[in-house]
Symmetry: C2
DNA sequence: CAAATAACATACTGATCAGTATGTAATAGA
DNA sequence: TCTATTACATACTGATCAGTATGTTATTTG
């Protein structure tokens, strides 16, 4: 009963996600959001609670989509070494292609909000832990197939690769020379033996 | 001629630095600043121009002090491997000791401002490049002393270590298990052979 | 001491912030 | 068709934002 909604919640959430991803939480105003989402202020509040609630919904949407992407990319390549090098190169290519370096929405949030808001500390941590498990599974697959040496510590190595991926994503925001990131990746991935 | 200044510019700048470091640029208001710096609003504007100018001065103070610290820590230890492992462990210890994880002021700025303000893109990039040179010099010292293998690419390795250090600093904001960061460091520093 | 200068403190500016009150339009069930 | 309900758009709220105008106090120079 009652009037039916005219906007698609998934679509406006996608728009909000893009905006928060670009500008962060504090620098994004409700006016920015209404114009980008194409709906009025009270619609936002009725659908998502408040600004923090909308941000959280946007971040959850991002992390779920991102985790799925990472899983697909790493699982689809039969060669583990190639899977990782292609994955890291894709991350770099995306960042240098776009005019604005948005980086990773989750990492941005880890820096801006996690230290001051436990909800986001947990949310961002769990996303990184999940990615780390995907990395670990991939490395273990490489060990079992014989592509990687059997003695390596898959868990510890996956954690080191996650840390490198984060560092890479962050330093690209300062637009270093391409050689800097290429060198870093080459050296880091030499750990995959 | 005229009344003499009652505040110490270095001291109030130090206070501003601490606040911006904790909260970032957007989340820090002029009211926050006046109360923490202990001076009135017009004094800030006469000494530092505007909010961005104050932030820039604070960041420059930070990066200079930080670069000096890093140089000292890495140069003072005769063993290069030990210098790096102590250095990384110190970074972790500091972050897990304090209640709030401030991380690195420069890295925080790289995420918040560098993508939207070229001045900070350059400033943060140059700081990271400078740290990378300090790392490289240290690695080269290890090669010359015979502690490290002669064939390693000191430049590329130093860049990979910088990337790992950034990733480590960022992920600690989500307070992962200590074992996660310990594993990462152990694996990454295994590149120093 | 008088004039000039500069830092001081208070209080203000218009703009913008997140969030909401209010009235209208559209839908469902009775 | 009437009533209840929900979404809509407009316009408003008090609070806070960055930055400044104004007048006072302290110091130097003549």
């Amino acid at each position: 009963m009652g009037r039916i909604r005219e906007f698609d919640e998934e679509k406006v959430l996608e728009a909000a996600m893009q905006l928060f991803w670009e500008k962060g939480y504090e620098a994004t105003s409700l006016s920015d959001l209404t114009s980008r989402m194409g709906i009025q202020r009270p619609s936002i509040y009725s659908a998502f609670g408040d600004k923090k609630g909308l941000f959280e919904a946007a971040l959850r949407k991002y992390t779920m989509s991102r985790a799925s992407d990472v899983r697909t990319k790493l699982h689809n390549n039969p060669s583990v070494k190639e899977a990782f090098s292609t994955f890291f190169e894709d991350v770099v290519a995306e960042e240098y292609t776009e005019g604005l370096s948005r980086g990773c929405f989750c990492i941005n949030t880890m820096v801006e909000l996690a230290p001051h808001d436990e909800k986001f500390e947990i949310l961002t941590r769990e996303h990184q832990m999940y990615l780390s498990v995907i990395f670990q599974e991939t490395i273990e697959r490489g060990i079992q197939s014989g592509e990687l040496e059997p003695h390596i510590d898959a868990k510890a190595l996956s954690q080191a690769l996650i840390v490198s991926l984060i560092g890479l994503t962050v330093i690209m925001k300062s637009r270093p020379n391409r050689s800097f990131v290429d060198n870093s990746i080459k050296v880091t991935l030499s750990l995959l033996k």
